[in-house]
Amino acid sequence: MNATPLKGLAGINLKPQHYDEALNLTDPTYWFEVHTENYFVEGGPRLDYLRKLSQRFPLSFHGVGASLGNTSDFFPEHLNQVSQLVKEFNPALVSEHATWSAHQEAYFADLLPLPKTKLALDQLCDGIDRYQNAIGRSILIENPSNYLDFTSELDEPDFLMEAVNRTGCGLLVDVNNLYISHRNCGLDIINYLSNIDAKVVGEVHIAGFSYDEKFTDSLLIDSHGAPVDNEVWRYLALALESFGAVPVLLERDDNIPSFADLRAERDIAQTLLNSISSEVI
């Protein structure tokens, strides 16, 4: 990874109900992330808004459907669509997940866990290589949220760092996912952060989680449907101490609050980033 785009800046993942307010925003420190697949359309207002927004703010394309760990029958078409969007919008960041979502002809519309094995690593690296070759640039891959432990030969940070070393991609560290994995599976976040090379981290995500209806607080769900938890804020501060002032993105995909509420949460992240930046200076 070379220079970090959007360094020191906090952004929001953009939902259609906030298009107009986002376009009226005058704060130049903002940037917006969108789910790439939501723009797999030929035309219409959704693309029009994105075009207008891209004139005013940096964009990040965050993919949720490539299934890099198990590429499917429709992977070539997926790459074709992502390539067209990346070519048109030239986003500051492009990211995907170290997960799988599809098998053969079926798409499961979820970010499913890979076993941390050497075979799975080979397959993930192949998916990343094909993705990066298709769009002609490197991407960031995001750590998964874990609900239970699958058989593994590698620890997750080693698994991800090996993918980075082999493919030249970078990492998107989702702090909420780390916290969920900590609570559900006992993952040691401090140890995890210390095993990630700060130089390869290009973005950090924060979000809110929810509790499973059936298993309550013994199973945290990566719902993106609540404000960021205090513990996640605390781990964000630790992550930024480790990684420096990498861009931070506030995700919210469910129970969408007002744009003002999202901005208030995002501004907390910006304040944290400012404190990191000033320490560096």
Binding site: N38, P45, G65, Q104, A106, Y147, L148, C185
Partner: protein
């Protein structure tokens, strides 16, 4: 033997069917296998939500609980075959509804209008033949009647077998119905198109249908006019042409 292939096969079977004997081999012993349900719930919830978003009038007609039940069966039988949920259900959800809920024979027509509304919204842009361009061409003495034109890419002519448009419009907005739907079986033709970023709909009479169908296939205005004159010998293309331009429905064929 490829353990990774076994893993994906086992996991996929679990997601589709709710159980798979091989999956336990891939779990660490201390893991609570009951937590696997989170993945299956997530898969169904995402797909059900997509169907609700894609078929809002059907959702409002059936109610959330019944729709969710029906949608779950559909997801199980027809999981998405593309890596986006935009348009999920376009392959066969209308037929599935028709086969599954036989006591509402008009239901598939609501689904059809939802589907074409969405197609129109996300369809590619056409270069609209607008008043300005027409004026320019007229000033250059172009014979407009001989210019090959067609309808913009976002336009669809949909024929339903019940007259559902007005009820569909209410349901799509989320308005509840104040009385039971009573519809006599009778065909209704509807034009759906996108104009200035907004999807519009209108019922077509016989003349509209003949004229717009000729234009949809791509033709000269003169030919479309001759077809319309067979329906109404007093038909005047000038007023109709102006309306087509205002609604940004025409594009020049290249």
């Amino acid at each position: 033997m490829n353990p990774l292939a076994d893993y994906f096969n086992g996991f996929s079977n679990y997601l589709k069917l709710g159980s798979d004997d091989t999956l336990a081999d891939f779990l660490e012993t201390e893991s609570d296998a009951r937590f696997m349900s989170i993945y299956r719930n997530g898969f169904f919830k995402s797909c059900q939500s997509a169907l609700k978003a894609n078929f809002p009038s059907v959702l409002n007609l059936l109610g959330d609980e019944y729709f969710s039940q029906i949608a779950r069966v559909y997801v199980q039988n027809y999981p998405p075959k593309k890596s986006t949920l935009i348009g999920y259900g376009e392959d066969n959800f209308t037929e599935f509804l028709s086969e599954t809920i036989t006591d509402l024979p008009y239901l598939k027509n609501f689904a059809l209008l939802d589907l074409y509304w969405l197609k129109s919204l996300n369809s590619k842009e056409s270069t609209v033949w607008d008043s300005e361009s027409v004026t320019q061409m007229a000033s250059e003495n172009v014979d407009l009647s001989q210019v090959p034109v067609s309808l913009v890419a976002s336009s669809y002519i949909v024929t339903t077998d019940y007259p559902v448009l007005s009820t569909w419009a209410l349901l799509k907005q989320g308005d509840g119905l104040t009385k039971h739907i009573k519809l006599a079986q009778e065909e209704e033709s509807i034009l759906i198109w996108r104009c200035s970023g907004e999807v519009r709909v209108r019922v077509l009479d016989k003349l509209d249908l003949v004229l717009l169908q000729s234009l949809a296939t791509g033709t000269k205005l003169e030919t479309a006019t001759l077809n319309a004159l067979e329906i109404d010998k007093n038909f005047d293309i000038s007023e109709y042409f102006s309306e087509l331009l205002q609604n940004r429905l025409l594009t020049l064929q290249v």
